[in-house]
Point group: C2
Chain length 148, copies 2
């Protein structure tokens, strides 16, 4: 997506077009990888040395709000833990209401993985898969609430 197109979208939402915002957009739109706020800040500073880190944070908030950025998950960037129950390769279904977790093993991603490897040239080494929703218990509760 071009910076001008993005700028137009922002304006369409009643947001002002400042040179700081343009600079941030240029950096994020011009990169082919994911960037942390700090990394974006460092890159933007080369073009706009007086920009504040706060402005980068605020810009990311706006972009996330408008669903213009994607979040990328790192293997080790989450600090929510639970005791490991199955010992081998497995994944989780997480209840977004109470946090309950159920494990499952057969993810059947080999076929997809091979296809993607072929199509993108990546040597794929791992995957992250997680389902989210409501557990039976929490489903019952919301049903009971709806009933009142």
């Amino acid at each position: 997506m071009t910076v001008d197109r993005l700028a137009h979208i922002l304006r369409g939402h009643g947001l002002k077009l400042t040179s700081q915002r343009r600079a941030v957009l240029k950096v994020i739109a011009g990169s082919h990888g994911h960037l942390t706020p700090a990394a974006i800040y460092e890159l933007v500073r080369k073009e706009y040395p007086t920009i504040g880190l706060v402005t980068v944070y605020r810009m990311l908030e706006v972009l996330a709000e408008l669903d213009l950025v994607c979040r990328v998950h790192g293997e080790t960037t989450c600090r929510s833990y639970m005791m490991r129950r199955p010992s081998g390769h497995h994944h989780h279904i997480v209840c977004s209401s109470c946090g309950k977790v159920v494990d499952f093993a057969r993810c059947a991603l080999d076929e997809l993985q091979h296809r993607l490897s072929r199509e993108t040239g990546f040597k794929i080494q791992g995957h992250l898969l997680e389902f989210s929703g409501l557990c039976q218990g929490c489903l019952g509760e919301t049903a009971a609430e709806d009933h009142r």
Copy 2:
């Protein structure tokens, strides 16, 4: 996994069995959901009010080292961003070396999702899927290095 079994594993790795560690183990092993360090700390304090938050952090480090805990990823707990390229539902393949991201759309998880929903009683509302590996460029570089 029982606390005694866990305690035994720790001891097998030359780690001392303190009452603090027992208390932390009891809380994590007794929960059916994922917990942040702060949440674990609050729960442990009920049984062991003088424990320090530092001890919880250290215990989690140990458990992660021995691969006795699982990490759970939250939708919004990662702060690495990139500009959104496709507009609809899609996923990422991330290069663990340079951070490059390639998108793909057909994840074909419906079948799996239905099976899991049936088997677990969850109302599944979303999923998180991400592949990681090395992009073509970074593959070339490591090959060149190996050649020297």
